[in-house]
Amino acid sequence: MISRRQAVVRTTVVLVVTAGGLAALDKFLAKTESGEMQRAASANYAMGTRLLAEGKATAAVEPLRQAWVLARDNAGYELALGNALAATGKTAEAEMRITAALSREPNDGEANLAAARLRVREKGAGEADSFYHRAIFGHWGADGAAQRVAARLELIELLARQNRRGEMLGELISLEEEAGEDRAVRKKLARYFLQAGSPARAANVYRQLVEKDRLDGESYAGLGEAELESGRYREARSAFIRAAMHSPEMPIRAQLELVDMLTEVDPTPRQLTSAEKYRRSSRILEWVRGDLRQQADARPEKSSAEIEDLLQRADAALTGKTPAAVSNEAAEGLLSLAEQLWRARVQAFGEAVPADQEAFRRILEKLAA
């Protein structure tokens, strides 16, 4: 027979032991559940990202959703799901996932990048820029510098597609400082400089690249392009020849022919004699007169009295007697007239020319610049 006191003490002890046992059981079960769910989530995430990488976005959504449902704290899973949903065109749901990830960590680089990509898909370019910038200056995990460079490159690519050269150039100048010694990034940087209308900066980057690797044919080709765009045809020719030497498989024959032609007709080099400059100027004027005549005959509705007047002046200049001692001023007069004809041609008929006459177009663009 136990006393009352013993009975209550025993009940208290039983309660404490039961609570302890239950706590241990709960901890064990919670740990088991957490482990199983994490493993399942990880497997689903791996499958989803693989499918997404293979371009099977629709198939990727379900495993990625499962991964996120099983591990809702994992912002990476939620973002991956958001990206997959965006890729399948479910932008509303994608926005919910990405916005949720952003609201948890507004400065997260990956989330901002996902939001930027979503805005690009939704054609909200203005907002996309700001998300790209937040991604560039946001928090990244390991390898943050490379991620920032990749985000900026993506923004530059967007600006290039939208032909926003000024903003593109600004991003490229920032990228130049961040790119470091990564040759792949520097090559892209040079290419984009060229696209942004800054061939001198592009050439500078390519020069740095070839200085560090004298056998890099690709960079020599790029340097050739940059020099070509800068109007430095001799330097371009030299770079193309080196490119062909180090990378014979590169298709640069057309560029070499173009640069040879340009070298042949370019009236701007200082070392040219006045007679040679006059000859080259006449040739350019003759080409642009012939081209403009041809265009006017083909599309008379777009022609005008001004064009006819310019053509008559060109006829007069070319059929007139060549002076015995030509001066630079006479050559400049022909070039000035050629420039006027080219402007009229571009205004009325655009600037597209046949590939074999690209050299004249480049010369005239250079003169008109």
Binding site: R4, A7, T11, L15, L22, T32, R65, A92, M96
Partner: protein, 574 residues
């Protein structure tokens, strides 16, 4: 597991136990301490129950499982749990809410430890196997049971053990739904039926404690993950009203089907009771073969619908299938609750209404997920009939204030519609089917002051049915009464009136005189003294038998007019 043998009915011994602790006159303080202890123990138990069910379910349905498994597992689960319920744990059958109310109003708060274990084991098996029922109702009974056992073990008086039942229920619901405020409200609104109950302090304490235990082990994840929704246009309120109508009609269909099926199953031979749950398991399995979302409580799919990602046709199909599957599972005797399925049905109906609205008025309506969210509360209000709890519960689940106004509108419409088309609330109707007469909310409101149980004479003798008229006349003269209770062995046969004695043949026996077929005037121990007086007036008697709510012929005592008047300090007129 040892059966709990400590009964609250042994009041003389339990009163004495506490003397040495100094708590004999301070049980109120002990109640506060125990409500914290109950919060911890119930929280731990419910967390274990949820995790156990989840892990078991994960093993029964591994990823990429075959379709045959979806038929076999619920059928086998129903068979095993059905046998266990029949053979070992008959008290653990059903959802747990009506059983908790029986315990509270009829059994003086008594729920055995065996029932708690039975509920835990049988529900784990049936829910993990995919039976289309929920875990919240069973959790309530488990929590109330734990509270009852703890109260008895500490030797509390019966009224204090009763007071701990809603404490345990609130703790369980707080952990099961992760909604501590709604758990308090549910305990007061549904279990006690009184929002002004004095137990509110202890209920709040246990609910908060249990919720903290839940967070300690499972973190701060809400039950459902809902994007932030907002009212796109004021016109949306009209669509939410339509949702209230749809939710109300769906709720009524669900309740009526469940009650009808329960009647049908109860009519089947008693020997089939152990195998009846298989009907539910097989049905849900066959449906699950084609539509796996019907299996189990379906919270994963609800989460998805709340995200606004579900086609209209699927939503409608799932709403209909769940409205059929859950009543069959429940009525056939499987262990599990209807809270979870209510939320599922509501989410599907809401999602469907929202999808149609969004299709018709895309610019002025929110994502269908917002309607699914409100729909959950709508069905809960219509089926469980606790409108205040449902509003607060959905608010707590989602933590989204913007949804409150639409939620209130559609909940109230659904509640009133359900009340109109299905007069008796589901838990009261189920209790009536079991032959139990729970006090109505009006009756509970009148139960203040002195109760019949406090003034009844527990040892008053009944007149035997075999007694003669002369013996009865002598008894009436001695007692000075005009009516008395006839019966034997604690069973009431009927009421005998002086006029019947006068009219009877002298050689007749009382059984020939009294009316044994019809219901006699009676009261229950929890009725108020005022109600007893009113029933004496209505029945033209001066004695009333005090009977059990679970069995109207089981005598607990008698109250006399003289005794009742004495309570009010009045002498009986001569």
């Amino acid at each position: 597991m040892p059966e709990d043998t400590t009964s609250t009915r042994d009041t003389s011994s339990t009163r004495g136990r506490l003397n040495w602790t100094g708590f004999a006159d301070r049980e109120d303080q002990l109640l506060i301490v125990l409500s914290l202890v109950i919060g911890v123990v119930v929280g731990l138990t419910v967390v274990a129950f949820m995790l156990l069910t989840g892990r078991l379910s994960a093993r029964m349905y591994p990823p990429g499982n075959a379709a045959w498994r979806r038929v076999l597992v619920p059928t086998a689960g129903a068979l095993v749990s059905g046998y266990l319920l029949f053979r070992y744990f008959p008290g653990a059958r059903g959802s747990g809410i009506p059983q908790t109310k029986f315990a509270l109003f009829i059994e003086d708060g008594y729920i055995s430890l065996k029932t708690v274990f039975g509920k835990l084991i049988c529900c784990s098996i049936s829910l993990a196997s995919g039976i289309a029922l929920g875990r919240e109702g069973p959790s309530v009974q488990i929590g109330a049971g734990i509270a009852s056992v703890i109260g008895r073990r500490f030797g509390l008086r019966p009224e204090n053990v009763k007071a701990l039942v809603p404490v345990g229920a609130a703790a369980a619901l707080a952990a099961a739904f992760n909604t501590p405020i709604a758990a308090v409200l549910f305990s007061l609104e549904e279990i006690l039926g009184d929002l002004h109950a004095t137990a509110i302090g202890t209920v709040v304490l246990s609910s908060a404690t249990s919720w903290m235990v839940l967070h300690l082990f499972l973190g701060d994840q809400p039950l459902f993950h809902v994007p932030a929704y907002q009212l796109v246009s004021p016109w949306e309120l009209a669509i939410y009203a339509v949702l209230g109508v749809a939710g109300g009609l769906g709720s009524v269909a669900f309740v009526k089907l469940l009650l009808q099926l329960r009647i049908w199953f109860r009519r089947l031979p008693r020997k089939t009771v152990w195998i009846q749950p298989v009907a539910g398991g097989l049905l849900v399995g066959l449906v699950g073969w084609f539509v796996p979302e019907v299996l189990g409580v379906g919270y994963d799919y609800v989460d998805r619908v709340l995200g606004g990602d579900a086609p209209l046709r699927t939503l409608l199909l799932l709403a209909v299938l769940k409205i059929i599957a859950t009543p069959v599972c429940y009525s056939s005797g499987n262990a599990g609750g209807i809270f979870g399925p209510s939320l599922f049905i509501g989410a599907m109906i809401g999602g469907a209404v929202g999808s149609v609205a969004h299709l018709l008025f895309p610019a002025s309506t929110a994502n269908p997920g917002a309607y699914a969210l409100v729909g959950m509360g709508t069905a809960f209000a219509g089926i469980v009939r606790t409108p205040l709890t449902s509003v607060i519960m959905i608010f707590e689940m989602t933590r989204d204030y913007a949804i409150i106004v639409p939620l209130m509108i559609s909940n109230l419409i659904s509640f009133f519609l359900s009340q109109k088309l299905q007069e008796e609330p589901i838990y009261e109707a189920l209790a009536h089917q079991e032959g139990v007469h729970l006090p109505t909310s009006e009756a509970r409101e009148l139960q203040g002051g002195v109760r019949v149980g406090d003034v009844m004479a527990a040892d008053a003798p009944m007149l035997a049915p075999e007694a003669g008229i002369a013996e009865a006349r002598a008894f009436f003269e001695t007692e000075g009464c005009n009516s008395w209770v006839v019966g034997e062995d604690g069973r009431v046969a009927g009421m005998l009136h002086r006029s019947q004695i006068e009219a009877a043949r002298p050689e007749a026996m009382l059984r020939d005189v009294i009316d044994t077929g019809s219901l006699f005037p009676h009261v229950h121990p929890d009725n108020s003294a005022g109600q007893a007086l009113e029933r004496m007036r209505a029945g033209q008697v001066d004695v009333l038998p005090v009977v059990s709510r679970a069995d109207l012929r089981a005598l607990r005592g008698m109250v006399t007019l003289r005794g009742l008047l004495a309570v009010y300090g009045v002498s009986e007129p001569s």
